[in-house]
């Protein structure tokens, strides 16, 4: 099970407490993870990536395993420890002010 940690604003919007858990068949990438997240929580469409271009929103970052994955290819496999649920995939609002 994939573990996803949402930022506070998106937990409020999606009405979730704690982590979101996703079951993804096949390759686990940013794209397949976000596809699954938006299917389970449709109100998040457009909040993390642009609905038309699919590009990550400029003030959103992706962290996992103490690494910044924001600029990795959206179709690259995520770390094995994210895929097997040992580490969460963190969706973070960039710290750009109050």
């Amino acid at each position: 099970m994939i573990r996803v940690v949402l930022p506070s604003h998106l937990r409020i919007l999606a009405r979730v407490n704690g982590e979101v858990q996703l079951d993804i068949q096949g390759l686990v990438t940013q794209t397949t993870l976000l596809d699954a997240l938006e299917i389970s929580h449709p109100m998040l469409r457009g909040m993390i990536r642009d609905q038309v271009t699919g590009q990550r929103r400029p003030l959103v970052r992706f962290f996992a395993c103490e690494r910044d994955l924001s600029h990795e290819s959206a179709d690259a496999p995520l770390p094995e420890s994210v895929e097997n649920g040992v580490e969460p995939f963190l969706i973070v609002g960039a710290i750009a002010g109050g």
């Binding site: 604003h9 919007l13 909040m47 003030l59 960039a94």
Partner: protein, 371 residues
């Protein structure tokens, strides 16, 4: 017995303030959507329990929320605002071309007859409409594309379409206002538009009397006399008696004619309200005194309304969407401040009292009169 429901959008959530007909006892609900900017909430005249809210964040974008029970519960319904066709450019602050980019919904205006039809004024300036209760949104592209769009430019708060007025009896006629482009009118239900800015004079654009480029902050009308429009421009309070074809200044004896909101009394189309602000760089009341000014003559002659409002050391602002009137008799007036106070008057402005004092900075205030 009637009651009022005051819908307050703030920088960190929405609040619903419910009062009795005397408007002296209040129940406060919220924050709804805590942490999010709520630019505007609006109830449907055709179904007062149908509400819409614009929820946004510079980080995560835009969502439209809908309530079917007067704001007790909400559901996210739609957030895809895609400009129609080639987006083109408008002017940036320095006059250079800048591509249109959707940022947020500033204002929601519900149809007078259909609770499922709602208009959205957005930044970068454009007008959208939903006819399925907020699920899907489609641009009325005749506004942005009518010809002058390339010369529009942002005001200090962004290039926003912030005012939408629907004619009370002619569904073909509607008005919008944009900072900093001006006022526009449609006579075919939003398909085509024309600028209506003749008589405006703005020193901060190269041609002070240009057809577009004016930083209109707000326009208002009374349902009983929809050919008369009132305008708070960046500087200058203006009036049109011909549906916007021409404007004349009615600032009269105001201590400052800079400000944001303008409103019309619910039962007297000649009684109007503004909140003078010192200047465009000093967004607080002159002399540290929070004063609503009322004209009972449709402009020019203004009186200060101060009873119950702070008259010393007050340096808050009142934004363009943060003042409104109810339809009770006597008419109630409400406004919210950047300091988080929401003030109410139950007697047309003669006396004021705060409903709440310590909300996040107030972005918008709307009121519904409910059975």
């Amino acid at each position: 017995m009637s009651a009022v429901r005051v819908l307050v959008g703030t920088k960190k959530g929405a609040f619903v303030l419910t009062g009795d007909a005397k408007r002296d006892r209040w129940d406060v609900s919220g924050p709804h959507f805590g942490g999010w900017e709520i630019y505007h909430l609006k109830g449907s005249p055709a179904d007062p329990n149908r509400l819409y809210a614009s929820q946004c964040s510079s980080w995560f974008g835009q969502m439209i929320q809908r309530s079917n029970d007067g704001g007790k519960t909400w559901e996210p319904v739609g957030n895809k605002f895609e400009y129609d066709g080639v987006t083109g450019t408008h002017q940036w602050y320095d006059g250079t071309p800048h591509p249109w980019e959707f940022k947020r919904v500033w204002h929601l205006e519900t149809s007078l007859t259909d609770p499922d039809t709602v208009y959205a004024g957005v930044e970068d300036a454009a007008l959208f409409r939903s006819t399925d209760a907020g699920r899907s949104w489609h641009e009325l592209a005749g506004l942005r594309g009518h010809g002058s769009g390339s010369s529009w430019q942002p005001g200090a708060g962004g290039m926003c379409l912030h005012t939408i007025l629907l004619h009370p009896s002619n569904p073909q006629r509607m008005f919008v206002a944009i900072s900093a482009a001006g006022a526009f009118r449609s006579d075919d239900a939003g398909a085509t538009w024309q600028p209506i800015n003749r008589g405006l004079h703005s020193l901060y654009i190269p041609n002070p009397t240009a057809e577009v480029g004016h930083c209109v902050h707000r326009i208002a009308m009374h349902r009983a006399r929809p050919n008369v429009l009132y305008m708070q421009k960046h500087w200058d309070v203006m009036r049109s008696d011909d549906g916007g074809d021409s404007w004349r200044e009615i600032s009269g004896n105001l201590p400052s004619d800079f400000g944001f909101p303008i409103e019309v009394h619910a039962h007297d189309p000649d009684t109007i309200y503004v909140v003078p602000i010192k200047s465009d760089s000093e967004h607080y009341p002159p002399d540290g005194k929070l004063r609503v000014y009322r004209s009972k003559t449709g402009g020019n002659d203004w009186e200060a309304l101060t009873n119950g409002l702070p008259q010393s050391d007050c340096y808050v602002n009142v934004l363009r969407d943060a003042m409104c009137v109810d339809s009770l008799d006597p008419c109630g007036i409400y406004f919210g401040t950047s300091g988080g106070q929401v003030y109410a008057s139950a007697d047309s402005g003669d006396h004021w009292a705060p409903i709440v004092r310590d909300l996040p900075g107030v972005l918008s205030v709307e009121v519904q009169t409910v059975p």
